[in-house]
């Protein structure tokens, strides 16, 4: 099932290569159909997850393994557990929404849709893969279209600089991560890139602490660049500001989570000692994201840059959750990853729409849009509220879980992060609401009218619904994530099994259940 989900977009891309370029409408229709079916498949996987039987590795469901490069121990191995089932769902929904938002592309549609489909397939493959090589391979498959899309269909005057910068920056990140992954393979000694084999092998033959301390920073820096961990975040705002809307939605929403997922899935279980040694550093670095980038976001007058910086700032919460190295923190981190995926896609989608209709992304030149665009303005209002962590949205549920998790290890950092989240986040989001949605309607926006075609509104609805559903009832996700997080952390706290924090209530009643309700 996962294989269909991954290869449907890729195969559609291959077929589209052979369709003449005059049939732009057909391209759009085929892409919508492919991503739509993918989304339904992902939904089916998500809904059937609890009842599905465990695969051969007895840790993952919907598993499939095929030999790929036998001499190196590389296989095509996909499967989901609680940690990535939500991410796959999120990726598929965002991909469909991004395809819906691609109507603004008016030249070279053929290439655009092909690249978009390749990116979608790559992203889903990366999140479903259980093989280090496939994991990296799929990520690169999704990453390279990003560069081309920014270069060819990008917006703004700085698009060439943005293309150049993001290409070099992310390539460096990917290569450093690759070095880390290869070193991990060599030092683990299992002669396999397979994650299940590696985990089982590492449980019996733990890697030398010296090797772990050597590999973990490689992965941290490599993935950190990809995630825009402070101080490696500078590519993000310019890149997102220049990217075409669907690309920004997919990259900021989904692809960026790859690095975080890599840290959770690979670095924590396989390098437990180094993870503990580095947790403090990560926690302090994440303050750079939350506080520093929050302050920078406050100063932005351009909507795209504001969202870009706020998206960088949100990464900090996820890092804090990972650094806490306990089940609550990691569960919260995954929850924020999913929530932020929807949120980032939603805000970038709306910002792209506004830029398209008003012709500017300068917030000073916009205003009163809530009157002109009641539906989209309302959606933007909700999105920005979700961005400041208002209860009722999935972001709140995730962030508060992260704070609960991190409190024990890093009380000071948690306090600072809470302040930053509540105050700084609220300041820039509310200011954006004020200058965009309220106030007098400037000349250029006077003629703006809302699109009456319902398909234009569909992507925003699709992205808002899960934000609210998971916000009101986060157990839908946490009940799945929890056991997954437990397995991930099993090697980090081997002595404290099953639960690292004795004070925590049993796993059937996650403590954030009550708080999550608005």
């Amino acid at each position: 099932m996962l294989t269909y989900l991954i290869f449907l977009p890729l195969l559609t891309a291959v077929i589209l290569c052979f369709v003449p370029r005059n049939y732009a409408f057909l391209m759009r229709l085929a892409s919508l159909a492919a991503t739509g079916v993918t989304m339904l498949l992902a939904l089916a996987v998500f809904l059937r997850f609890d009842s599905a039987p465990l695969g051969p590795s007895s840790a993952y469901k919907f598993e499939q393994q095929l030999n790929w490069i036998r001499s190196l121990g590389i296989s095509y191995h996909v499967g989901v557990d609680g940690v990535n089932v939500g991410l796959v769902l999120m990726g598929a929904i965002v991909a469909f929404a991004a395809t819906c938002c691609a109507w603004e592309i008016r030249n070279r549609e053929k290439e655009f849709y092909i690249l978009l489909l390749i990116m979608t397939g790559g992203i889903l493959c990366a999140f479903a893969s259980l093989d280090l090589f496939l994991f990296y391979f799929a990520h690169e498959l999704a990453l390279v279209p990003t560069f081309i899309m920014i270069g060819v269909w990008g917006r703004g005057v700085d698009k060439n600089l943005a293309t150049f910068q993001i290409t070099l920056y992310l390539s460096i990140g990917a290569l450093v991560a690759l070095a880390g992954l290869i070193a991990l393979y060599l030092r683990a000694g299992a002669q396999s890139f397979d994650l299940v084999t590696l985990t089982q092998y590492a449980a019996v033959h733990p890697m030398a602490v010296r090797d772990q301390n050597f590999i973990f920073p490689l992965l941290l820096v490599g993935f950190g660049i990809l995630i825009s961990l402070w101080p490696f975040h500078t590519w993000a705002p310019l890149g997102y500001g220049s990217a075409p809307t669907p690309t920004a939605m997919l990259h900021a929403g989904v692809l960026k989570k790859f690095g975080l997922y890599g840290l959770i899935r690979i670095a924590l279980p396989l390098l437990p000692h180094a993870a503990q040694a580095w947790a403090g550093t990560i926690a302090w670095l994440c303050l750079g994201n939350i506080v520093y980038c929050g302050f920078v976001a406050m100063r932005q007058r351009d909507l795209n840059w504001l969202i870009g910086y706020s998206s960088v700032a949100h990464m900090g919460f996820i890092f804090l959750g990972i650094a806490s190295l306990n089940i609550i923190g990691v569960t919260g981190a995954v929850l924020v990853m999913i929530a932020h995926g929807f949120l980032a896609a939603l805000t970038f989608g709306l910002a792209g729409y506004l830029q398209h209709t008003t012709g500017t992304s300068d917030m000073d030149k916009m205003g009163g849009l809530l009157r002109r665009l009641p539906f989209l303005g309302g959606a933007l209002l909700l999105a920005l509220f979700a961005g400041c962590g208002l209860p009722g949205f999935a972001n709140f549920a995730g962030e508060v879980t992260v704070f609960f998790g991190a409190w024990k290890q890093f009380p000071l950092i948690t306090v600072l992060a809470v302040w930053a989240a509540l105050v700084i986040g609220a300041v820039y989001m509310l200011r954006a609401i004020r200058s965009l949605l309220h106030g007098p309607v400037p000349e250029r926006c006077a003629q703006t009218v809302e699109d009456s075609w319902p398909l234009r509104k569909l992507p925003y609805v699709l992205l808002l619904v899960p934000l609210l559903v998971f916000g009101v009832y986060p157990r839908l996700l946490t009940d799945k994530i929890w056991p997954g997080a437990e397995t991930v952390l099993a090697s980090v706290h081997p002595s404290e099994q099953p639960s690292p924090m004795p004070a925590v209530t049993p796993k059937s009643t996650p403590i954030h259940r009550a708080e999550a309700k608005p």
């Binding site: 190196l72 090589f133 390279v144 060819v152 690759l178 070095a179």
Partner: protein
Amino acid sequence: MNYSLISLEIAVVILGLGLLLADLWIRPEQKTRLGYLAALGVGLILFWSFKFSGVPSASAFNGMFVLDPLALYFQRFFLLAAIIVLIMSVAFAGRIATGISEYYSLIIFALAGMMFAASANDLALLFVALELITVTFYVLTSFQRARLASLEAGVKYLIIGALSSAFLVYGIALVFGTTGQLNFNRIAAVASEFADNRVFLLGILFILVGLSFKLAAFPAHLWAPDVYQGSPVPTTAFLAVGSKAAGFVLLLRLLFTAVPAITERWNDLLIVVAMVTILYGNLCAIPQRNLKRIFGYSSIANAGYLLMGVAALSGAGRAAVLYYLGGYLFAVLAAFLVILLVMNEVEGEDISALAGLNQRSPLLAAALTCSMVSLAGIPPLAGFFGKFLLIKAALEQGAIDPLYYWLVGVAFLGVIISISYYFGVIRAIYWSKEPPVLSAIPVPLILRLALYVCLAGMFYLGLFPNTVVELANAAVKVLAVR
């Protein structure tokens, strides 16, 4: 003695002679088409070479010549490259004033030299094969006699080639003088006695310097950019692919069959040479504007990556070299096919000639983009997996010698630098200021087929590397001395 062992080489030589003879009876306007005949002949030989697949390793001429999986791998490599280069030459024929059939037969003779190099197990045959390649390339590089740049390229190639031949033959003389042996296996048997003999070591060092000319690696790399720029396009393509690979198979055999102990002692030297070559090639490529010159520098850089696999001193490293060369073949030949077709339409080889290519011919634009992406080492194309194998092989040795970590670091740096200039080419194709003329570029059917073969090769090697990796692993087993 079993003459069937050298039947492939004999067939190639006969084909070359046949072309020269056929030239006497064929009407001038038909001579261009002779290239297709030559390509067909080489194709048949390639097909025939599969008859030898399961045959156990055997040697002939008193151990001078060996036919083993390694030799077969490279022979097929050279035959495939020659087919595409011959097809390119037919398309290039309009630019060569006279003697196009000599041009074809010279390519075939260079091919014969490369085939012998693949099987050379003896310093004498090594020298003969190399000279056969080099001398034919002296002519091939300067074949456009009316073009000053081509003559300049020929002269530069001649001077540096002669110098490195001198090094090579001096080295061979020193080795023969000390050990009294020319055969690799017999040198290996006595090498331990001479491990501290400075004259012997100097001889090996000289041979390596001579070989580095073929590889376009430091210290004899300076010719590459000028010669690549000045030569006719098919020559450049064959030089970039065939000549380099011939150098590598000889290097592998010499280092790992004849003097494995010394190779192990000299691994730091190999690492440093690889690092310098990678950095030199990549750094110098950044400011270049001439397409063929970019390939000249990129060829140096790629020699550096390949040397990484040699320096890793492991079976994995040597297999990675073979695999990487396979990916390199398709990427470089695809790129030169595109350059050839574009140059037929536009005067000048500047990178700006590519402007608007995606509208003039989407196929050419896509092919050149794929080639650049593959050379830059980005999945899912062949170059990525090749670099992956090379880097993995070097990292594997890091536990033994920390210098390998530096090598990997330099290789990563090189990859990142190379992305900037490879993407410069892609940028020129897709989003540079469009020229006033946007006429479609016609792509003849046979060239289109060749392009499809190259594209298929890049994707196949990148997506399904298993077969070729196993082939390469089997091929380098004959070198497994450790």
